[in-house]
């Protein structure tokens, strides 16, 4: 899907009047306050629009990964977890690896990231 289409879906879900309010590089979670309900709605709409089969957890697998002790334990990403993360973000953003908190990772949830993610699901 092209970025403009993804942004249009996001704007529709979040009831924005104007799609141009969305900067493709900025986080939908942190900068546009996309809620968990908006996110699931967004994932369903993207699924319908892209014709691809995926669950909301596949679009943004971080929450599920953080529940898996192989990936995340005692508040830290394990080596396997870091490797899985870098696969998800490879060719999209280089990781400094320093701060990988959920809030920090939320910063990556932009229209550009979703375009990259959809191409790789």
């Amino acid at each position: 899907m092209i970025a403009e289409e993804i942004a249009r879906v996001a704007a529709g879900v979040m009831y924005f009047d104007d799609v141009s309010e969305i900067d493709f590089k900025r986080s939908l979670f942190n900068d546009y306050s996309m809620s968990s309900l908006d996110f699931v709605d967004f994932a369903f709409e993207l699924k319908d629009n892209s014709g691809k089969e995926f669950s909301p957890d596949e679009l943004w697998p971080i929450n599920l990964m953080m529940k898996n002790p192989d990936f995340y334990t005692n508040g830290e990403w394990t080596d396997i977890g870091k490797e899985a993360l870098s696969k998800i973000f490879s060719d999209f953003t280089p990781f400094d690896g320093a701060n990988l908190s959920a809030e920090r990772l939320h910063e990556f949830f932009s229209v550009n990231f979703i375009q990259h993610r959809l191409a790789n699901i």
Binding site: L37, V40, D41, F44, K47
Partner: protein
């Protein structure tokens, strides 16, 4: 259109199953111990139905059942009817009894709801009905476990409703007063006449009274979500 009834062998569940089948739903149901009833109801519903034995008191059976539900088998309507009463003072070591009532009346139906809504949400339609009881609002000596599990289910359903409303999945709790079923007969025993004498309406509900409310909600004649519909025998429920 498909309906799934948890507790199809209950008197109320059977009434709902027959009504929804008449409304052209394909009705699947669960049962626990009443294989005879499950068989006769299955025959009445015809070939195009599926019934499965699930012991709701067993957490792993419930998990297995929940995991077996998928997009292809997902119902358009889910009705949680199965339930048990437990009439005892809340004094002393009540943990095991409380856990059992909570598992059957609250945790199992809540877990089933959670999975079914997940399957309904992408379709952007669906109806969930949880059968509770006016006991949720009416403390009576001996009904702490039963009443509090029904109250928990009502509270759960109300929150679930706002979480899934965006996806046009609607919920309703139907909370009857006494209904003329084996559950009421077991509870009332030889006090039936006395119990009815003390009810403001001096009558108890028939199974059809509950069934009609289900049909009205499922058929879109009652447009609401997240609420509890109290069907009383005249008691005021505030």
């Amino acid at each position: 259109m498909k309906a799934l009834i948890i507790g199809g062998t209950s008197a109320i569940g059977e009434g709902i199953a027959r009504c929804l089948a008449a409304m052209k739903y394909r009705v699947d149901f669960t049962y626990h111990s009443n294989t005879e009833k499950a068989k006769s109801l299955g025959e009445a519903l015809g070939d195009d139905h599926h019934s499965v034995r699930v012991d709701l008191s067993d957490v792993s059976e419930v998990s297995k059942f929940v995991a077996s539900l998928n997009a292809a088998s997902a119902p358009d309507v889910l009705i949680n009817v199965a339930g048990i009463t437990h009439d005892a003072l809340s004094v002393g070591n009540i943990g095991a009894d409380l856990a059992r009532v909570a598992q059957i009346n609250f945790l199992a139906p809540a877990s089933i709801c959670a999975r079914v809504v997940e399957l309904m949400m992408p379709r952007r339609c669906g109806s969930i009905i949880n059968v509770t009881s006016i006991a949720s609002k009416m403390p009576r000596v001996g009904n702490a476990a039963y009443g509090s599990t029904k109250a928990a289910l009502e509270r759960f359903t109300a929150t679930l409703a706002i979480e899934v409303a965006r996806y046009k999945v609607r919920t309703l709790c139907i909370a009857p007063g006494f209904v003329d079923t084996p559950m009421f007969h077991a509870f009332a025993g030889d006090r039936r006449k006395d119990i009815i004498k003390n009810l403001p309406l001096r009558e108890i509900l028939a199974v059809d009274d509950v069934v009609n409310s289900v049909a009205a909600f499922v058929g879109g004649k009652i447009k609401t979500t997240g609420t509890t519909l109290y069907l009383t025998n005249g008691q005021s429920v505030l």
